[in-house]
Structures are given as structure tokens and as C-alpha cells.
């Protein structure tokens, strides 16, 4: 089985977000970068599926040259091949992103590399557009199941489950298919040292797609208004227990 996992490079935000003076970006001077959490799981799922059933795994991202770091992270976990759709760093909206991915998938198909399963994150951690996977599926004429937290492949059928009100709903779709996953589908492994060393030596295939323009155009970013609270200190250490119990009683929560 040939599996493609699409990922996005995003800043690893901590407890507070700061913006650049032009309000166009998050100030990342003091931040590391990572892959969106759902997509880390897409990478892990691709590695597991191809370890179990054979076949190939490819990781793809659309982003600046620096996104090579995220592709190498995926290679270090056991992905076989990496493709960078290289941009000048500006944001591509979901339709533009999907268009570039579709072209890359078609180019692979023309070169004899047909994917059975295309994995995406349910939504990117930063922009949260919820639509790139669905747009890619539509353009390629493939079925798409979103928000998947459990996936099995049996006889060229994907059996995908997603959460619904604390229970599950189950979908069965024939391959090839697009599946967008959520964190929790698996627990991603940590890369091994040999894996990291191997990843550094592996080639990154580069394509420079043409930016078609955005139809959802960012004007500026802003931080939501949030009041800072001054917590009432109920005490220090276990001696605070009686006072906490009193507060719980006052709030009508102690039974």
C-alpha cells in the first residue's frame, strides 16, 4: 500500500502568543517549530500502515525551505520519501494549498506512484480551515472521511471511526481514499538517533508551485481580549485543604 501523509509546519506556541509589529504573523523569534498535532498522528499512522502491510510512505508539505526540518522529522520516524512544495513563506489559503497538493499527487501518479491512502490532519493547528483534505479529495474524485480516530485497512477497504457524542460512528470506504485524522488515533513514537542521522542524509524532492492567489485573504491577526485574573490564594500545601473544602461548599459543589 502506498500512503501519503500531508503535514504543516507551525510554531510550537507556549503559554502566550505575541504578534509581529505588522500584525501579519506570530512573532516566532523565540519559538521552535513543529508539525500540527493531528498531522504528527497522520505521519505515525502512515509509518504503522506501511510497516504492517508493506508498500511505501511519503510525507509532503507546502511551506518555506525551513519546513525541511519537519520533513526530516517525519523521515526520522520511518517515512520513506519526502516532498517539499516550496513557497516564499507567505500563507497559502486552503484552496491554493489543496490545488498545489493535487498537482503534486497527479505528477506522482504520472510517474507511476499511485497513492492508496492520502492522510491529512483534520485541521491545521494554526489556521484551522478544516478543508484542505476535502478539497484534495474532491479534485481527485476520491472519497473522504474526516475526523478519524481509529483506522483499519481490510481488503482494500478503509474502516474509519470517528467520535460522536462520546460514542462512535463508523464509515467503510474503498481505497484509494482520503482520510483526515485527529490526535488520539495513535501515540506517535519518538525518533531514534539512527533514524535522525539517516533522515539528514535522505534527499528532499522539491517542487515550486505557482501561487494562484488567495480567495480568503488575511488582513491582520489580533489577540482576543482576555481579562487577567488575580487568583485568590487559598493557602500553601496540604494545610489549605480545609479552606478549599469550604470554597467548594460555598460554590455548592461539595456533596
Amino acid at each position: 500500500m502506498n500512503v501519503l501523509a500531508c503535514v504543516k509546519r507551525v510554531p510550537a506556541t507556549a503559554s502566550r502568543i505575541a504578534l509581529t509589529p505588522d500584525e501579519q504573523e506570530i512573532d516566532t523569534r523565540f519559538l521552535a517549530f513543529t508539525v500540527s498535532p493531528h498531522e504528527e498522528c497522520a505521519v505515525e499512522e502512515a509509518v504503522r500502515l506501511t510497516e504492517a502491510d508493506g508498500g511505501t510512505s511519503t510525507v509532503l508539505t507546502l511551506g518555506p525551505d525551513a519546513a525541511v526540518e519537519q520533513l526530516q522529522d517525519a523521515l526520522a520516524l520511518g517515512i520513506g520519501r519526502a516532498v517539499l512544495l516550496e513557497t516564499d513563506g507567505r500563507e497559502w489559503d486552503p484552496a491554493a494549498t489543496a490545488g498545489a497538493i493535487v498537482e503534486a499527487v497527479r505528477a506522482d501518479a504520472a510517474a507511476g506512484r499511485e497513492y492508496d491512502l492520502l492522510l491529512f490532519g483534520n485541521e491545521a493547528a494554526d489556521t484551522g480551515d478544516y478543508q484542505v483534505g476535502i478539497r484534495v479529495a474532491r479534485a481527485l474524485g476520491l472519497p473522504c472521511v474526516t475526523g478519524v480516530k481509529a483506522l483499519e485497512i481490510e481488503d482494500r477497504t478503509a474502516i474509519a471511526r470517528r467520535e460522536l457524542h462520546g460514542g462512535w460512528e463508523v464509515f467503510e470506504v474503498p481505497l484509494p481514499a482520503v482520510v483526515t485524522v485527529k490526535e488520539g488515533i495513535n501515540l506517535p513514537r519518538y525518533p531514534s538517533i539512527p533514524g535522525r542521522i539517516r533522515a539528514k542524509k535522505q534527499p528532499i524532492e522539491r517542487i515550486t508551485p505557482d501561487w494562484p492567489g488567495n480567495s480568503l485573504v488575511k488582513v491582520r491577526l489580533k489577540l482576543p481580549a482576555e481579562e487577567e485574573k488575580h487568583a485568590e490564594i487559598l493557602g500553601h500545601g496540604p494545610e489549605a485543604a480545609a479552606r478549599v473544602a469550604n470554597v467548594l461548599t460555598e460554590l455548592g459543589l461539595a456533596r
Binding site: G166, S215, P224, A241
Partner: protein, 326 residues
Amino acid sequence: MILGLVEHDRGELDPLSLEMLTFSRRLAGRLEAPVEAVLVGEEASLPVEELRRYGVSALHSVEHPRLGDYAPEACAESVVQLMAAVEPQVVLASASDRGNEVMAHVAARANLPLAANCIDAEPGEPYFVTRVRWGGSLLEEAHLSGTVKLLTVAEHALSAEESPADAIRHTPFTPVLSDEEFRVQVSARVEPEGDKVSLPTARVVVGGGRGVGSSEAFAPLDELAELLGGAVGCSRAVTGLGWRPHSDQIGQTGTRIAPDLYIACGISGAIQHMVGCKAAKRILVINTDPNAPVLVRADYAVIGDVNEVVPALNAELRKGQAGGAA
């Protein structure tokens, strides 16, 4: 005309759809346009009167023998065909899992942009929308173009308010659907286990972070939740360490909670976690670090080690319960 895609469960309208209709009505006021609704479901249980109370002047009910079980592409294709028939200026859904999914399919089919998770929209050409990023830790102002404006409304961006329409017209709509639109359709459902207090609905949530120290050290947190009739949750660090299942995770990529009290134990307060407990009425923090970022969102704090404070609190609560029973 503004068209809102409403979700319902056996005739009961989804609360997020009511928020979406309230959002739609405000937008409709600026456009001087009516709000109409589209709903996929059976005629017998249509919530027509409730929709009228929320300002809907026409209901288009999509009727098709194969639409009994949820099929996202079939829903989207139905909406696209209805759009061609009734020509709305704007189509909205709530930013629920299904709302975002169906609208993304609509956008892909109609070749239109979609602004997901909006909290505001000003009409114009283009529309000026405000949408949430990073699960709500950041806002984006953006221009949305397209011959029909497509957007989804972020949950709890506003409160649902009634504002009755004078009358509501009900028109069934029968789409033409092919097998292809039913490639993806729910084939089975697994109902939740009934007796457990669920994280999203719990009145009290006890959350544990890395500061708890180990999987075993969650036992006092489990007991505290039990004593208060609540549920236990955790941070992403904890699920990453394998101490708790992912279904316990609170935050951007986990569950969003809205309890009366959230007791955050040994949690530093990463933004991805804090957006998940934004809707908590009060927050009590138990943490060794008096400068932990979580403190600026807290109403109450105990400075101390969760492994000492929580067992002491449990003992205190047990004493109270024994006293109450005597």
C-alpha cells in the same frame, strides 16, 4: 437571502445551530435580507415552530430516501443544488464537526472559498470576517470573496437568542443524488457507555498535568472527581507520556470543557490547553509554581504539590460527607 444549514437530532435542534441562526439574523439585519434554513431530515420530526422562533421565515427540508444515515457528500450536493434553486447570498453552518465538514464539501463542489470558525462577518464586497485561529487563542481578520459567501460560525461566539419570524413557509426539496454521493455514509454507530460522567458536560472537572508525576499518581485525582461527582481530564503532555488515554485530553486537539469549576492540578497553562477550558465558570489551580502562566486565568489557587494537596482535600471532603450523613 441568507441560508443556514441546521443540524438536528430526532427533531431537537442542535444548540450550536441556534447560535448560528442568531448570527445569521444579525447579518441578515445588515443586509435587510430574510433568513431561511435548510435541514436534512424526515418530515415527521421537523422542528418548524422552533425555527420560526429563531427568526427563520422559510424552511427547505431536503428529502431523499437514502439520506437516513449521515452522508457528508450527499448533504453537500443537496445544499449545492438548493443554492442553485434559491440563490442565497450567504450560506452558513455552525462550526461543528459536521457543519465544517459539509460546508467544506459545498465549497469544494461550488469552487468557492470558505471561512471556517467565524465570530463576526460584515457584508460588503468582499466580506470582512473575523475568525478564530489556534482553537481560539488568536483571531484573524480576513476578506472573504466568492459569488456566494460561505462561512461557519465558531461555537459560543454569541448566545442563542429568540426573535420570532411572523410566519414560516415549509418547502420540501428533493435533490438528484447519485451512488457516488453515498460512497461515504455512516454504516454503524457505537453508542457511548452510559454511566460515566462525560468531560464536556461535567459540572466539575479535575485536570492533571505533568506536575502530577505519573500514571499512578492520578489515583487521588480520580478520587477527588468521584467525591465531587465530576470527571478527570488531563493536559496534552500527560497523554503524550501515555499516563492517560487521549479521550481524557482537554484542549485544542482534545475535548472542550465547560464546568462550573475546573480544578487544574500541576498544569502550567499552555495556550492549547487553556482554549479547552475557556468556558469553565471558575478555575482552581493547584501548583507548586506561584508564577505558572495558568495563574492569570485562575480564580483560586493553592500553592503546593498536587500529590500532597489533593489527598488532604479528599480526606477533608470525606470527613464532610461522613458528617453530612450522620
